[in-house]
């Protein structure tokens, strides 16, 4: 049980970013390896605000806005001119972008490790389960965000428009949808989710520029496992990745935990290429 709770707590950090990743993938068909860098940028933004004296939740809102703006900026400068290029090119470019963001952070903040102004406390115990208030709020925020984004995509006009554009941009355009504006909304939303995940990661881990690569892999793994294009799938994927990691450490070998994400991805791609909750995605 503790294992499952821990897996959910890890998943809560990853889930919003995985949804952001899947959103970008379905809209533009590329693997954005800058996911971790955007999260790290978000974490630093939140920390900066917290350090200036703002409460963490306000810092988190700033982080959401900042990451959103940063993704928008990078899309306008980097990705937009490259629309229609192969997925490989864009993947490579996103790695380059990630290198740039990481090093801008390092340039500005150095390599010191930072943490939010938050007391470190022993856990509460309930029914044999150990948990901390932070864990609960991380899970709570994450669940709310996931459901909200899910509802947004499922029930609102914007959500339907987003899905239509993701399915077929040219058809949507013919049907009179303002495609560029809808894409922009999708980018802002994805960026906000990266920022949120970054803040949650900051609550859970140390904040340092080296974090980004370690965050990227599980986020992408969660999105693929859940099925690209499905926000709830991404959340479920995050839980599965979290659980797989817990089990590996407990029963196989802790140092190999880093490989878990990849092994799960490989298995899913081989056995059920559309992911758990995804529809078949055209792969090019």
């Amino acid at each position: 049980m503790q294992l499952i709770l821990n897996a959910i707590a890890s998943a809560a950090v990853l889930a919003p970013a995985a949804i952001g990743f899947t959103l970008i993938f379905t809209l533009f068909r590329y693997t954005n390896f800058a996911a971790g860098a955007l999260m790290t940028a978000g974490a630093f933004a939140a920390w900066q605000m917290n350090d200036l004296g703002l409460p963490i939740w306000l810092g988190g809102i700033c982080a959401v806005a900042f990451a959103s703006g940063l993704l928008m900026l990078s899309d306008r400068v980097v990705f937009e001119p490259l629309r229609g290029r192969s997925g490989g090119t864009l993947l490579l470019v996103s790695i380059a972008l990630s290198v740039i963001i990481d090093n801008v952070i390092r340039f500005a903040y150095g390599t010191q490790i930072r943490a939010f102004d938050l007391p470190l406390r022993p856990p509460l115990t309930y029914a044999g389960l150990r948990f901390t208030p932070e864990t609960l709020s991380v899970i709570g925020i994450s669940v709310v965000a996931t459901l909200a984004v899910g509802a947004l995509l499922a029930f609102t006009r914007l959500g339907r428009a987003l899905r239509a554009v993701a399915d077929n941009p040219s058809l949507s355009s013919i049907r009179g949808l303002p495609v560029p504006r809808i894409e922009a909304a999708g980018i802002l939303l994805a960026g906000a989710l990266f920022g949120l995940s970054g803040t949650l990661a900051g609550l859970d881990l140390a904040i340092e520029p080296n974090l980004s690569w370690a965050l990227t892999i599980p986020v992408i793994a969660a999105a693929i496992v859940g099925g690209l294009g499905s926000p709830l799938g991404a959340a479920l994927g995050a839980v599965i990745i979290g659980l797989a990691e817990e089990l590996t450490v407990a029963f196989i070998s802790a140092p190999y935990k880093g490989a878990v994400g990849f092994v799960v991805i490989a298995l899913v791609l081989l056995l059920r290429p559309q992911g758990l909750l995804g529809r078949a995605v055209e792969r090019k």
Partner: protein
């Protein structure tokens, strides 16, 4: 092939005539070039800047007072990226393009060992801080000096502390790197010699992960009365947080550099109760305070810049060695460093004091900011001060200082 032949001949010519240059007046004014290779990015990122700052500060001061042998010292900084692949490239540039006489400041043992074949081949001196027990193996020319004691020496003192506090059963955890892996072996051996034992298997994890909750949970499940954690600050902070938040109530024993100011800022009052120890700069000693003031830090009775003070000794020893040898030829400089570091002679703590003695023709014994800096034949330290602390109210409170003898 014509071009390469010409290049070959000209490079051979340069190599052959180099000693001749040294005797001319022209060479007297040419700067002495020294490489500073520190981990500015990667896993060592938190420790690199203080090392490179120490190098820079000493060189600036020495240059302001007339340089070494009347020549200006030029320090060239490179980033090892805490990665031997990058470090080897950087070392090639330092050795072959900048023609450095020495490379100072490497930190990770993998990096120090990685560039050692190049340095040996090109007769370049290495002064560094590293604790892998394998470091002496790569040196066949007597060109290395290590300001950090090897793992074996640390483990004895820490195992002793654990047993004194009544912990005979201690679990071991650490990242899977060179440092922690050999620390684990040494600690287990030391603990056994005192009649204790390691709980379960030594637990290694992969550094640089996004989350360490699963690892912490595994340690909690082992339920040891105490855990010795040989981590660096980058992985120690998240693992420690997860241990506390997972409800671990046993004793944590760790290494002092993992629980520096960064750590205390990050975890606040939850740091209280941690036992830690490591080779320390002699707190309150004039040479250590002089170093801190040189880099703009106020001494506060706590361990600060535990790697920076070693870098301070690296550069001082290197420059004094050149001044005394009146040469930058590495074997001469290494011989001079042995005399300067081990004495006997008058105590000196800075380059300026040492230069005065050299000018007066007197012997000296360098006493450093990190230790007394006395070396064995293989370039490893003879001994170093070692302190054990307990964190109380967010401050390191000293329990015991010992001098670990590495020659035993």
């Amino acid at each position: 092939m014509k071009l390469s032949r010409r290049l070959f001949i000209s490079s051979a010519a340069v190599a052959l005539t180099a000693p001749a240059y040294l005797r001319t007046g022209l060479a007297q004014s040419a700067p002495i070039v020294i490489g500073s290779m520190t981990p500015l990015t990667g896993g060592g990122g938190p420790y690199g800047p203080e090392k490179s700052d120490a190098h820079r500060a000493v060189v600036a001061e020495v240059n302001a007072n007339g340089g070494v042998m009347g020549r200006e010292v030029r320090l060239i900084s490179e980033d090892s990226e805490t990665n031997p692949e990058a470090a080897v490239r950087a070392a090639r540039k330092l050795i072959d393009a900048d023609k450095v006489s020495a490379i100072l400041g490497t930190w990770a043992s993998s990096v120090t060992l990685g560039i050692m074949p190049l340095c040996q081949e090109a007769n370049v001196l290495q002064l560094f801080s590293g604790s892998s027990d394998y470091l002496p193996d790569g040196d066949s020319k007597g060109l290395i000096f290590n300001l950090q004691p090897l793992n074996k020496a640390w483990a004895v003192a820490l195992a002793d502390l654990a047993v004194q506090r009544g912990f005979k059963e201690v679990a071991f955890a650490g990242p899977k790197n060179d440092f922690a892996a050999s620390m684990g072996e040494s600690f287990a051996a030391s603990l056994q010699a005192l009649g204790g034992s390691i709980v379960g298997e030594p637990f290694y994890y992969n550094p640089g992960q996004a989350s360490y909750r699963a690892e912490a949970e595994q340690l909690i499940r082992m339920n040891p009365p105490a855990i010795f954690m040989a981590g660096y600050v980058t992985d120690f902070i998240p693992v420690y947080r997860e241990l506390i938040r997972g409800g671990f109530t046993g004793q944590i024993i760790t290494l002092s550099f993992a629980v520096g100011p960064d750590f205390k800022d990050a975890v606040g009052s939850a740091a209280d109760g941690i036992l830690h120890g490591s080779p320390i700069p002699p707190i309150g000693k004039d040479s250590y305070d002089a170093y801190l003031k040189l880099v703009g830090i106020e001494p506060n009775g706590q361990v600060q810049n535990s790697y920076g003070c070693m870098a301070y000794d690296e550069i001082n020893l290197c420059l004094l060695g050149m001044e005394m040898a009146k040469s930058t030829v590495s074997s001469d400089v290494a011989a001079a460093i042995r005399q300067i570091a081990n004495g006997p002679g008058d105590r000196v703590t800075t380059f300026a004091e040492g230069k005065a003695l050299i000018d007066a023709g007197k012997p000296m014994n360098y006493d450093g900011a990190s230790s007394s800096a006395d070396f064995q034949e293989n370039g490893m330290l003879k001994s170093r001060d070692f302190a054990l602390y307990e964190i109380k109210d967010g401050k390191d409170e000293i329990i015991l200082t010992t001098t670990s003898d590495a020659t035993k």
